[in-house]
């Protein structure tokens, strides 16, 4: 079916295009009778205003872009959920792109969104990205922009984050409070800020409790997967049979660790306590139930959209906007995998 234009409605009713346009916008200088006739015919012919033409006039697309590393991921799917719902409430549509954790794809996607003239961009960086040119390009073009979770610290834009150092410190302190003396850390890749900060938090907790830091107890994920959790668990228990605690960068890796320990009769938590990060849904249905750090994904999505909305509104009105950083609270969730019955 071809699109109906104002001209066709005007021709059929024998009135001018201007009158049709005014009637549809309910202008007072058009008679009620004409308005009714126009609206009835428009409905009958399935007339919809051409949004490209409307966009060209208003310079607003009422669309934002969201780039995340991956959507099949409990944390990110929760953020996406919150952003879509919040955007909809405010009349915005969301284009979602996945970087699959690669810088090259992320750069291409930023370009696509710029060319698409979205009204704003929300982004969580891939593991390979930092304050690269594509990020600077968004900021130089003065496009409303918010980063969340995996951010570039030095970029001049709004950010929604947690204090990863403090959260990781608290997780490791909890293991120590429950009797752990030799704790391994399965960390994330070397580049992302949150992975660096969680590693620093781990080190600080050891230091605070006078436990010597040993680089041999730190294992580095490349892709932060279930399989890496399983493989490192095996390596850890073989290389350090006297290990009594594991802090994993995220629940998916901790779940891999638990799976290996369960299959190989390494008693969790008696022999080795395990704590993850992020509080994925599945953590509460495992045996033993996984202790973790709650990361407020839903709030992170809501805050990210609302910061963007504020900037988009300023942008529209030509009012200067000063980027802000919102830091959300985390808390350690204590479940079965970290409570030893007999303390050493």
């Amino acid at each position: 079916m071809k699109d109906i234009t104002l001209k066709e409605i005007a021709t059929k009713l024998g009135i001018s295009i201007t009158t049709v346009s005014k009637a549809l916008k309910n202008y007072p200088d058009v008679s009620d009778k004409t308005k009714r006739a126009v609206i009835e015919l428009a409905q009958k012919l399935h007339y919809t205003p051409n949004s490209f033409a409307v966009n060209l006039r208003t310079k607003e697309s009422k669309t934002i872009g969201l780039i995340i590393p991956e959507v099949v991921h409990h944390f990110f799917s929760n953020v996406v959920n919150a952003i879509i719902n919040e955007a909809e409430k405010n009349g915005y549509l969301v284009i979602i792109l996945q970087s699959n954790e690669t810088l090259a794809l992320e750069k291409k996607q930023v370009e696509l969104l710029i060319n698409k003239r979205v009204d704003g961009i929300i982004m969580s960086l891939s593991n390979e990205s930092n304050n690269d040119d594509h990020i600077k390009e968004i900021i130089n073009r003065n496009i409303p922009f918010v980063m969340f979770d995996k951010i570039a610290k030095l970029s001049k834009c709004s950010k929604v984050i947690i204090d990863d150092q403090k959260a990781a410190f608290n997780a490791v302190q909890h293991l120590i409070d429950n009797g752990c003396k030799k704790i391994a850390h399965i960390r994330g890749p070397l580049n992302p800020q949150n992975s660096i900060d969680r590693y620093i938090g781990y080190k600080k907790a050891l230091e605070k409790n006078n436990i010597p830091f040993d680089t041999k107890l730190v294992y580095t994920c490349e892709n932060v997967t279930f399989e890496e959790g399983k493989n490192f668990a095996k390596q850890i228990i073989n290389e350090h049979p006297d290990i009594d605690g594991v802090f994993a960068i995220t629940d998916l890796v901790a779940v891999g660790t638990l799976a290996y320990f369960n299959e190989n009769k390494v008693n969790v938590p008696e022999q080795v306590s395990v704590i993850g990060f992020s509080n994925w849904f599945m953590s509460q249905v495992l045996t033993p139930k996984l202790s973790t750090v709650d990361q407020p994904s839903h709030e992170m999505g809501i805050e990210s959209f609302n910061l963007l909305l504020e900037e988009m509104n300023c942008h529209k009105e030509g009012i200067p906007f000063t980027p802000r950083t919102v830091e959300l609270e985390t808390r350690v969730i204590i479940r079965e995998s970290s409570i030893k019955n007999k303390k050493n």
Copy 2:
């Protein structure tokens, strides 16, 4: 930063707008020197073609809309993942909307996408929806359209489905083959086609094996949640202490069932075997590991996008397109939760 237009580039270089436009499109009748000058200046000024203007000319948005019930859902996030990646390969962006399982929201979202003039729509229906007016509207407007998984059987559009009846039949047959004689079914809501079909598959398997069908053994979810799985497990074991098998509409519900049985020392699989549907990631890391039906979510995403692409291409060329239905294979995945060691 304000948008740079062709006119500004033309003025700065003292040439015509037409020449600038031709230079950017690499027309042969513009000299290489001029082309270089235009391209250099365009890059320097961050010129990007105004996509609204381009859209108005080509009548293509290179954007599709995707409406799903919810994104925080292992099956749907996998489909979304496949569709985004496939769309990107083909130069399309994807606007994602969630109906949150309500008809009212779904209707509104269809209208938004129509007004946005997306090139095509992919959709999985909410639990409340069927062949309603908003579905007919998409088809009447001749907008390329594919439904997947939760479909309206009678709608004249392309569909990507599995044979839910057959898949459910096979799951229940597997329980029977492993010694189950009294099998409860935790079914989905009454409206969605896939929920109806899985229920029919359950009934047919009992019938084929001369096991009397008993409506009292059928429990109906409203929201298909983990909590409903837990609550129904309690109800089932209280009302029918001699039950020896449970078939749940989806893994999330089966995981709730397992959680209740584990906590209350109902031995799975010895006393009660459990099988789910859809093969969520977490099913393989539970204790005991959950048997299930593999639903090919990734393939479903790829097939849905490719069917839509075919229709969009026909639409663009003005070639008639006949909607097709693609049915994908499923298979029963046998894990620990359904294999009784001693058959009765």
